[in-house]
Amino acid sequence: MDVIANQLFAGLSMASILLMIALGLAIIYGAMGVINLAHGEFVMLGAYATWALQTFWGIGILPALPLVFLAVAVVGWVIEKAVVQKLYHRPLDTILATWGIGIILQQAVRLGIGAESRFVRGPDLLSGNTQIGPLIMSNYRMFVIVFSVAVLYGTWLLMTRTEFGMKLRAVIQNRGISECYGIEAKRIYSFTFAYGAGLAGVAGALITPLFSTIPTMGTGLVVDAFLVVIVGGLGSLIGAASAAVLIGEATALFSLVINDTLGRIAVLAGIILLIRFRPRGLFPTETRR
């Protein structure tokens, strides 16, 4: 029983990380139909930005979060303006172009900073564990779980309670008509992409104490995050959240029953089946394109 409880917590922790990474991707994919394979590299940039802030200016992870968000959002904004905007009418080509951008970012970091692993210290405030009976939980992981839920709520507010969110939803539903009402779809897209990239940066900052920070860290993450988005359904926030929990917990429980790798294979097989029978995801949104 203890083992299961601890494994459930591990699954939840993994789900929170997946959610943080997938949220940005879900918004970009849902709003613009762009499959951003450079998303993993945004996460990587966020991780390196945190490392740089901590090493050179002595800024801890928590105060660094807004700075990292802004920095990666700017990178995303520039990439959107320079490349992605030219490819809106060719959605499959965005896979290729963003993969190329990913290579460029990865190599730029490798050349500029080096290929060796970097370490970022977690915040002192959140070190240590909390123990409830047999269940041992790392404080930092608990913080990440709470933080990811907060970001999810914040994004939901942004989408439903602000003017920007309203315009974005209008553009998603029908770009042509929205433009007739004076909404600048291009601007909305740019901001959406920048926001998604910024979220990926924050995710990168949060996972630095848990993962090793290397230039190739993004490649594995982007596949997982993308599966979360597809399983959750096009552009659905609640879908992405439940898919993250589902995949995180399934991976954790499968690795308990069989081993880690076979557990992951089982989850991938499950995802393939799910896409086959529900290609629009668990929570499809009604959109007109």
Binding site: L92, D93, A97, T261, I265
Partner: protein, 368 residues
Amino acid sequence: MTSRFHYDLIALVIFAVVIAFGVPALMNYDGFELNTFARYLALAIVSAALALSWGTAGLLNLGQAATFGMGSYAMAMHLKLRASDGLPDFMGWNNVPELPLFWVPFESLAFTLLAGLLVPAFIGGLIAIFMFRARIAGVFVAIITLAFLVAFQLLVINQQGQTGGQNGLTGLAQLTLPGWTVDPYSMGFYYLVAGCLTVALAIGVYLTHSKFGLILRAIREDADRTRFFGYNVATYQTAIFCISAALAGWAGMLYTMVLEFASPTYMGVSFSLAIVIWCAVGGRESVIAAAFGAIVVNLLEGRLSDVFVEGWHLMLGVIFVLVVMFMPRGIYGLLTDIGARLRGPNRRQSPAKARPSPTQHLETGQEP
């Protein structure tokens, strides 16, 4: 249609003559250089295979490396058995007491060659039936094949006792055909690979210009209308997926012979997307262009990495982004556009103007 067929035939002949006579002369008949070039030629086959499914039928298969890896492991298993008396060395290290059952038939060369083609075709066919019966299209094909690739690579790495795990299969023997031990640094081997590539391209050109290819292109343009004409779309898609997988397996077998080892990195996401890059740079609408793209990119990669040890990957990324943005139909598209312009404005507009991208209609995932 027939004139395009003639152009393709001429291109194929020129291509075959260049790789058969031009390249060895340029390389001074040097064994090492020719081995490197034979590697590019093997990769050209898998790039052409992707052009068949992606360019002709519009099915972006991000898992092409999985079928490539199956072929390369089939050949490696045969060569490993030839190199060891009884049990391969790595099985001993992993406490595998006797040869696993699925290794036994790879003692036979004929079985190995068949398996290298048919196992990828069979697995590819299973995935294809699974997807296309449900009318999965567009992005979802890419995602399912990608997820399959990741799962397959994990499985191969995980089963260390049977597959050599992360190390792959090393210490292979040289292939012995009746009366010929194939030395990968010999002229004979180069001609073997070049011959295979030419045959593979001939098959590809034939398929794209046959009625079968025409129907595939119709499916790419509008699957529903093709269905209304009474064609069974899923059957055609499955067929091209199988053929493409078999060609990829063929390429994998040659690749193992060139490098003299098989590694799970052949089934990695990076390698699989690299295949897509070659195909896109060359031009996905023509198998010859896709093969040419694979050779050019790998040649550039080889040369650039000599000069710029650190920065070549960066340049490759930049080149690729530029190609996707400004030459969406690759080198092939550039050539046909120039050709159309030379023939004058009175002639029919180039297909590029009429339809910006062959994949445009795939925007919505599942067909209604």
